[in-house]
């Protein structure tokens, strides 16, 4: 059988993708394939073109593996532009010859549009554009001794170009014809938010400006004149005022062309000549051009299918494409999904606009309010994946759709992977659905890498990586495949699994646990990951003193010596001061102890006093004095309840509506000694003025006229997170019941060293789920959680008092087991009237 001759014009992203798809379908058995490219380089990743200025070279941007065209029976003609198509004879014409074809595919892409401006006519040296590697080389050369650069066009590509100019060390400006940036993707408010952000980054933004003329400048190379009479001088001008489909060949051979350009194609991507296909940015489908790579890839796949199909096979159809985009422009997150402008009949919008942080979110919903149909995000794309899934899959919105864009959902869980239908598109670049991922897993792909290799998901723009991982993890889990979440090499279990094992089997020591459930049965000493984690689990479950012989080797040094190690090997001591309330007499004792042992003293954020610089052998003496004065250990060294901060409340404050100090002391005494996956901080405020900053705590309580409002899962520190309102106007008993259940549920289900904030963010079902468990007892666990808490509370004992009673335990507090001297290397010096490490 004679092979058919297939010619592809354009070796860009889409033309290349077509070749890949054909090879995958073994089309080279039936076709002789030739592909022409007018550029010097074999197809490269134009989407990441800007990374060329960040140090990537042409080779690393190349599509496909190195030597792809040598390794496959496809003839690549580089630097060979097609100059004509002879449809009558079925030939393609170049400067070097004529090539006959049986089928032809146009994948000529598009070219940058340069508005007709006097002084920027074709051939002028200042007429720079941003499309190809060669363009970038030209820009780099022009920037060599330039100070300022202007981009004409404030769309997506224009902003990328502005960033490129900035990265070349120029002062960058953007001149936009429309009254806002990214007019296609953003609405007015989104455009404003983006403008503010970009200006803060030092990029000049000039809106509503039509350039009329470019003339030689005085201080810079050129001066641009605008219609409104203003002008701007610059050394370099890059035009990025939109793209136009490259349809010159099609026009010349009289294929049907759209009114405003573009090669008209039908649902099979065929042009008006059924032998000729057009795909990618040169093609006009249903009067639309698709300026993104994913729709082009879809067209390429369809054409590959059509070329490889047998007569009678069903023909694949192109049905349009989603134009949602997620980008980082100049380091600013921008997202646009579906009907971003709310153009659909009856569409309504929710908007969130924070002018301080420059975060803007808009959610567009259908007339009946049940479905999301579009969204705009500026400044933060965290919600993008979730919103995209709502829009693409028509998932019913939650009762309060605004919650999807309100700040409390920052970092909210992506729509649980289980909730997505099989048809949900996970990777739009490679058109991979959840169903395809499941199929790959069923066919034997057992980890993320294998799924990627099998489906190509996440190998395009990469924007779907997080979503892909969560789908793969949840599907593997659903199939009972162990996703390796072992806490360390000694246990092939998660912390949560170890917790259940300990509870169910009543295991009370590390050695029993590692013997029965360790990864290498009976061997292994454990390590600094699993030992403290198990110590914490054992303490949460049974609350035996951590200094007992069986537990002491498990503890971090801080727990072992019940004090916090400082950089010179000494310790700091923090006695508990419940609610921050302390008598003058007790305060005096702290002063006396500090003075006697030469300790540096400092007030903590949790309303206590920290005494620094105690040597190991001094700790028991210090604690004897503190305990004699009525103090207890403060667990500042443990992953445990730390403090319950409080404001002075109704007893003194003019505004207070409840006794916040009383409640704080009650809570602190109740939960002191509770060990948990990470430290726990609480606070109680006496009225809504919130002087105790309860909304930055794991558990926050704020007084109301009628009782208490409970907030949970807040965090200060490195990654601040506002606590979320959990329940309102609770009486004392209900408040405490909810906190009991909440804390124990956290202890039971959180990961090692996971604060409540992160735990909450990863909790599938989010706050609603947590409320259902704690308030409505949806898991039927409430009683068990409460009784576990009861056990911890009833078995509380001050660890320091316990240790001081036991001479064996005190033996640990010796700097040297064979010598009385203190560590001679601990040297201190004086500063501001106190001692500090030298």
């Amino acid at each position: 059988m004679n092979k058919q001759r297939l010619i592809i014009i354009g070796n860009g992203m889409v033309g290349h993708h077509l070749v890949e798809q054909l090879i995958e379908r073994h089309a080279t058995d039936r076709f002789d394939i030739r592909i022409f490219g007018e550029e010097r380089h074999p197809a490269y990743d134009r989407v990441h073109l800007s990374e060329y200025f960040a140090g990537r070279d042409a080779r690393s941007l190349a599509m496909g593996e190195v030597g792809f065209y040598d390794a496959n029976p496809v003839t690549l003609h580089l630097c060979e532009a097609v100059t004509g198509i002879d449809r009558d004879n079925g030939e393609v014409v170049t400067d070097r010859g004529r090539y006959p074809y049986d089928s032809l595919v146009l994948a000529t892409g598009s070219y940058p549009f340069v508005p007709p401006i006097a002084g920027a006519e074709a051939g002028q040296p200042n007429r720079l554009v941003y499309r190809t590697l060669d363009d970038l080389d030209t820009i780099r050369a022009a920037a060599a001794d330039a100070r300022r650069g202007v981009v004409v066009g404030g769309g997506l590509l224009g902003l990328e170009a502005a960033n490129a100019l900035k990265s070349l060390g120029l002062e960058a400006h953007v001149v936009e014809f429309a009254p806002r940036l990214m007019p296609v993707q953003l609405d007015d408010q989104g455009g404003t938010a983006l403008r503010d952000k970009i200006e803060k980054l030092g990029v000049g933004v000039h809106l509503d400006r039509a350039t009329t003329e470019i003339v030689p400048g005085e201080d810079y190379r050129y001066r641009m004149h605008f219609k409104d009479g203003e002008s701007l001088e610059t050394d370099l001008i890059v035009f990025s005022a939109g793209i136009r489909p490259q349809d010159a060949l099609a026009r010349q051979c009289k294929l049907e062309i759209g009114e405003r350009g573009g090669i008209v194609i039908d649902d099979q991507c065929r042009t008006s000549d059924p032998e000729i296909f057009a795909i990618g940015e040169c093609a006009l489908w249903s009067n639309r051009i698709f300026g993104l790579v994913a729709p082009g890839y879809t067209m390429a796949r369809n054409v590959a299918d059509a070329l490889c199909s047998e007569a009678g096979d069903e023909q694949p159809t192109f049905t349009g494409a989603d134009m949602s985009t997620k980008l980082k422009l100049l380091g600013v997150d921008v997202g646009s999904i579906g009907d971003a402008h709310g153009a659909t009949e009856g569409a309504r919008s929710y908007r969130y606009n924070d002018e301080t942080t420059g975060i803007y979110r808009r959610l567009v919903v259908s007339a009946d309010g049940k479905r999301a149909i579009g969204a705009v995000l500026v400044g933060d794309n965290a919600a993008y994946d979730t919103l995209l899934q709502y829009v693409q899959n028509g998932i019913e919105l939650p009762a309060d759709p605004a919650s999807l864009i309100l700040p409390s959902v920052e970092g909210a869980p992506t729509l649980g992977a289980d909730a997505l239908p099989e048809t949900a598109s996970i990777c739009s670049c490679h058109n991979v659905t959840k169903g395809a991922i499941c199929a790959a897993i069923d066919a034997g792909a057992t980890d993320l890498g294998a799924v990627k290799a099998e489906t190509k998901a996440s190998t395009g723009c990469g924007g779907c990586a997080a979503l892909l991982k969560s789908v793969v993890d949840s599907e593997l889990e659903a199939r009972g495949v162990e996703v390796d979440q072992s806490i360390c090499e000694h246990f092939a279990h998660t912390r949560q699994a170890l917790y259940s094992i300990v509870r169910v089997e009543g295991i009370r020591t590390f050695s029993e646990l590692i013997e029965k459930h360790g990864a290498s049965q009976g061997h292994g000493l454990g390590c600094d990951i699993c030992k403290p984690a198990v110590a914490s689990i054992l303490a949460s479950c049974f609350n035996e003193p951590i200094t007992d012989a069986a537990h002491v080797p498990l503890q971090d040094t801080n727990d072992t010596f019940m004090a916090n190690m400082q950089k010179n090997g000494t310790y700091s001591v923090v006695p508990r001061i419940p609610g921050g309330e302390i008598t003058p007499a007790k305060l005096r004792v702290l002063g006396e102890v500090g003075e006697k042992y030469g300790l540096y003293t400092k007030i903590t954020g949790g309303q206590r006093v920290d005494l620094f610089g105690a040597r190991l052998e001094q700790l028991p003496d210090i604690w004897s004095e503190l305990i004699a004065a009525g103090f207890e250990t403060g667990h500042a060294y443990g992953k445990a309840t730390r403090t319950v901060k409080s404001c002075v409340g109704s007893t003194w404050c003019r505004y207070g509506v409840q006794d916040s100090v009383g409640m704080a002391i009650h809570l602190e005494n109740r939960y002191k000694g509770l060990r948990s996956p990470h430290k726990l901080k609480f606070a109680v405020s006496g009225c809504t003025r919130e002087c105790a900053e309860a909304q930055s705590k794991d558990v926050g309580v704020i007084a109301t006229e009628h009782g208490w409002n409970l907030y949970v899962c807040g965090n200060g520190g490195m990654r601040p997170r506002h606590a979320e309102l959990f329940a309102t106007d609770l009486d004392d008993q209900t408040l405490i019941r909810y906190i009991d259940r909440f804390l124990m549920f956290y202890v039971r289900t959180a990961d090692r060293l996971q604060r409540t904030s992160v735990w909450r963010e990863n909790l599938e079902g989010g706050l609603d789920y947590l409320k259902a468990v704690v308030i409505d007892d949806s898991l039927g666990l409430a009683e068990e959680l409460e009784s576990q808490m009861r056990h911890v509370i009833d078995s509380y004992e001050c660890e320091w008092a316990n240790a001081l009673d036991d001479p064996e335990k005190l033996k640990r507090f010796r700097s040297f087991v064979n010598d009385q001297r203190p560590d001679p290397d601990i040297i201190v010096t004086e500063e501001r009237g106190q001692l500090r490490p030298a």
Binding site: E489, G526, D528, M565, F816, V817, N818, D819
Partner: protein, 124 residues
């Protein structure tokens, strides 16, 4: 001649502390006088392991304080280690080499239990 036999022939054993001072699966520090000057020794006791007792320097060269004895004892792929309590690097108990940074190492000594006593081996 292998190093092991070299040690056997060249060391003198000197009492350091009592066996009762040791803490199972954990460390204690001991003071040591040698001809070259004093040293702080971290002693780790791992009952049941093929080597039950290890002696390395108590000084953490990376953290710059005398704290090694207060680290958590564990193993990395079966090799006993201690994790520094300051910045959590792991040091092999057998030869004091830091797993994360092999240029950093602790001094180490031969040790043994003789009756009730713990003895440390010194050269020469």
């Amino acid at each position: 001649m292998s190093t092991a036999t070299a040690i056997k022939h060249d060391v003198t054993w000197q009492p350091l502390c009592h066996q009762a001072d040791l803490v199972a699966f954990s460390g204690v520090a001991a003071w040591l006088e040698t001809a070259e000057g004093p040293a702080q020794v971290a002693l780790f006791y791992v009952p049941g392991h093929e080597t039950e007792l290890f002696a390395v320097d108590n000084h953490d060269p990376l953290g710059g304080a005398n704290v090694i004895a207060r680290g958590i004892v564990g193993d990395v792929k079966g090799e006993p280690v201690v994790a520094s309590p300051l910045y959590k690097q792991h040091f092999r108990l057998c030869d004091g080499v830091c797993v994360e940074d092999p240029d950093a190492r602790l001094r180490h000594w031969p040790v043994r239990i003789a009756g009730e006593r713990v003895e440390i081996g010194l050269r020469g």
